[in-house]
């Protein structure tokens, strides 16, 4: 403790700084508001227009009749179709994606080939979804591979192609977060590499991998264009994955231009359903990640 | 090369300075004690006794300083040897101080105008000179870490031991003279104190060798065996 002179007082914030601070804060709030407005509007419109369809009888329990007159029917086949196609797409994309991510983090690392793979994955995330649809259309649909033209599994393939880069990217990030000290510890115990991956790396990264995959699934659920060219449209509830199927995005696409109000309302109801499904998936993903976090 | 552990090195140097200063104190005490014996100066002897407090105080200071250094700095290698040696040396200094006090205490006891024996007195004076020289050289050896000088002290100490035995024999000789007998016995005691001072100086020299080489050898034994070989 020194000095006979009094200590220098801490200076006050100048008026100019205060003003600048409030201007900045104000503009940030305005920007946030501008960004939120369309989001809120969308949700509002969805609920406003779709809730009437939800409450109509048989919305979830009947298939669309496809007839122009009379009872339009519900969207049961669309829901089931979406679930079937997306499930198949996930079955393809998720294991494949995680495997590629494992290659990149555990084996490839900085190797030139691994970097090449990463580059292509990045490119694929930017490819418009319609391109995947067209690709499958030309390769599988036109050639009537598997016996039929349009088919549910071909749609699933297109969606898988779409989901794959997302799974790879998010999985790679999560796998890189696994501390290398854990791998070192397992190596020092004398474990072979594949066992280390299976018993140490994957369990540690599990919640992050699940979250990433669920987000990819949520994305895949909502895509219309790929399904348009690969699955086309049907109204009946069918388990035959090798043929035409209904799906929520296509149901919306078909119904929204219909002159009948009831059918348009059904389209809104389907849209609301789709958003609800995506929301549920997001909530599940968040719950899982919170339940077992790594940090 | 950058200077690290600056405070530690300073502290260690300071401790060494205090020990060397202690040796200076011993030399001055020895000088005055010997003078008081030669001139039967009782007042001077009393001063020697009183001033021993300074040496005792120095001992406590150095002891405390060493404990503090060991606790705080964990010295190793040469530093550790120096610390151990300084502890040993300050004890020797304290003992040498006590020997000077013992000499001084004998002065009033040996009478005021006692008859003196010239031979004994000469021998005592000679012993005193040698002892003083040994202490001075021990201080030098410690200060400059001079191993040869340290080892030479053993040779000098042999001379003191010889004089000690000579004084004893002489005291026995003059023991027949009743007037001289008591004085003679007191002189034996003085001689013994001086011999002890010499031994302590040799111990300090041993510590010097230890600091420099890391080896600890009893030099007194070497000196004694060499002497007995000479006969």
């Amino acid at each position: 403790m020194s000095a006979s002179s009094p200590a220098t007082p801490l200076s006050q914030i100048s008026a100019g700084r205060k003003r600048r601070d409030s201007i900045m804060r104000g503009s940030l709030l305005v920007g946030t508001g501008i960004a939120l407005v369309p989001l809120i509007l969308v949700i509002y419109y969805l609920i406003d227009k779709g809730i009437s369809a939800w409450t109509s009888s048989g919305f979830f329990t009947t298939d669309p009749t496809g007839s122009f007159f009379g009872d339009p029917g519900g969207i049961r086949s669309a829901i089931f179709g979406t679930l079937e196609i997306v499930a198949l797409a996930s079955l393809i994309a998720i294991p494949c994606g995680i495997a590629v991510a494992l290659y990149l983090t555990e084996y490839g690392k900085e190797h030139w080939f691994a970097n090449l793979v990463r580059y292509f994955v990045d490119v694929m995330t930017g490819v418009p979804s319609v391109v995947f649809g067209l690709f499958i259309y030309i390769v599988l649909v036109v050639s009537h591979t598997g016996g039929s033209g349009f088919a549910g599994w071909k749609g699933a393939l297109a969606l898988a192609l779409l989901m794959l880069p997302i799974v790879i990217r998010s999985s790679e990030v999560v796998l890189l977060l696994v501390p290398s000290s854990l791998r070192e510890a397992a190596l020092a115990l004398g474990a072979p590499r594949w066992r280390i991956i299976w018993k140490v790396v994957l369990p540690t990264a599990r919640s992050g991998l699940v979250t990433g995959s669920l987000l990819a699934v949520a994305r895949g659920m909502g895509e219309t264009a790929p399904l348009l060219f690969t699955v086309s449209f049907a109204t009946a509830l069918t388990g035959n994955i090798n043929g035409l199927m209904n799906s929520l995005p296509l149901e919306i696409y078909t119904d929204i231009t219909n002159p009948r109000d009831a059918i348009v309302a059904r389209a809104w109801g389907a849209a609301l359903t789709l958003v609800a499904l995506v929301l549920i998936l997001n909530v599940v993903a968040r719950l899982i990640s919170r339940r077992s976090s790594m940090t | 090369m950058q200077e690290t552990r600056h405070q530690f090195r300073e502290d260690l140097k300071e401790l060494e300075r205090q020990v060397l200063g202690g040796l200076d104190l011993v030399i001055s005490q020895l000088d005055r004690a010997l003078e008081s014996v030669s001139y039967q100066d009782v007042e001077l002897a009393a001063m020697v006794v009183a001033d021993d407090d300074r040496i005792d105080g120095r001992y406590l200071e150095v002891h405390q300083g060493i404990l503090s250094l060991l606790a705080r700095q964990s010295p190793v290698a040469t530093d550790l040897r120096i610390v151990a040696a300084l502890l040993h040396c300050i004890r020797c200094i304290e003992r040498m101080g006590d020997q000077c006090v013992n000499i001084a205490k004998l002065v009033p006891l040996s009478g005021h105008d006692a008859p003196k024996d010239k031979d004994t007195l000469d021998a005592i004076e000679r012993m005193g000179q040698l002892a003083r020289q040994e202490v001075a050289e021990a201080k030098d050896a410690l200060r400059t870490r001079n191993v040869e000088l340290a080892q030479d002290l053993v040779r000098q100490d042999a001379e003191i031991n010889r004089l000690n035995r000579a004084i004893f024999k002489r005291a026995v000789e003059i023991g027949d003279d009743l007037e001289l007998r008591e004085w003679g016995m007191f002189m034996i005691l003085v001689a013994r104190c001086l011999e002890r001072v010499g031994d302590n100086a040799v111990e300090i020299a041993e510590q010097v060798v230890f600091v420099v080489t890391g080896l600890f050898r009893e030099m007194a034994d070497i000196g004694a065996s060499a002497e007995s070989a000479r006969g």
């Binding site: 115990l189 280390i196 | 950058q2």
Partner: protein, 288 residues
Amino acid sequence: MIPPETTSKESKQVSAAEDQSQQTEAAPDLSAMGERRQGHGIKVRDLHAYYGSVHAVRGIDIDFPANEVTAIIGPSGCGKSTMVRCINRMHEEIPGARSEGKVTLDELDVYGPDVDVTSVRRLIGMVFQKPNPFPTMSIFDNVAAGLRLTGTKSDNLRERVHRALRAVGLWGEVKNRLDSPGIGLSGGQQQRLCIARAVAVEPEVILMDEPASALDPIATLKVEELIDELKARYTIIIVTHNMQQAARVAKSTVFMLDGEVVEHDETTKLFTRPSDERTERYVTGKFG
């Protein structure tokens, strides 16, 4: 055929032994690991190690005697960790790293052409600076991890895990919560857990790379006590930047500088009367 009386006497003996063991649960109990085994030493000959073009270890020759603790000290970057990692072939896991030279565990050449690297690491265990228990595994699973990850078929897995925990003196503290997560323990306990994990695999040699530098003083002392116990069964090589630790724990000490061995001697001698000027300067803190 065992007569019934003997069995009940046996069970009484067992419970008496358990009572006794409860008293000493806190102390490391290596007798839990079974009878004493003949130890195995490591010899390093002309070892060179590189990170790309950087020559980190330059021609090292050291003998690590069996059942002894040898410490390796030296300033940062002198190559001590690198050298130790060459012993259990962890060095080659780093991209761009390579090594040359000979490392033998008794007669076994660690770098032999037909040698499976994972079997080397089972014989030469390692404990790291920062405790790294597997976060998704319980205490039990962590200790068992070594056995499970190496695919060791073990019908007495539980027993081996319990023994390892006893051996490191952790049994008393965790016996009632073997299923709780390994990362729930304190830093010192986690490090002892990692040591138990290494010990459960029953290696011959244990390498320790600054095992206590991330721990508080009490935990450090416990780990050091444990090392003292462990040397009865294993050969231990410990890298440390803490000279006092080397002095407390090791019988002999190696001083390394710039990738080379400067001095290798009995610990007491190295710290009271080092032969090399550079060792003297390092241990007295004149550089480093």
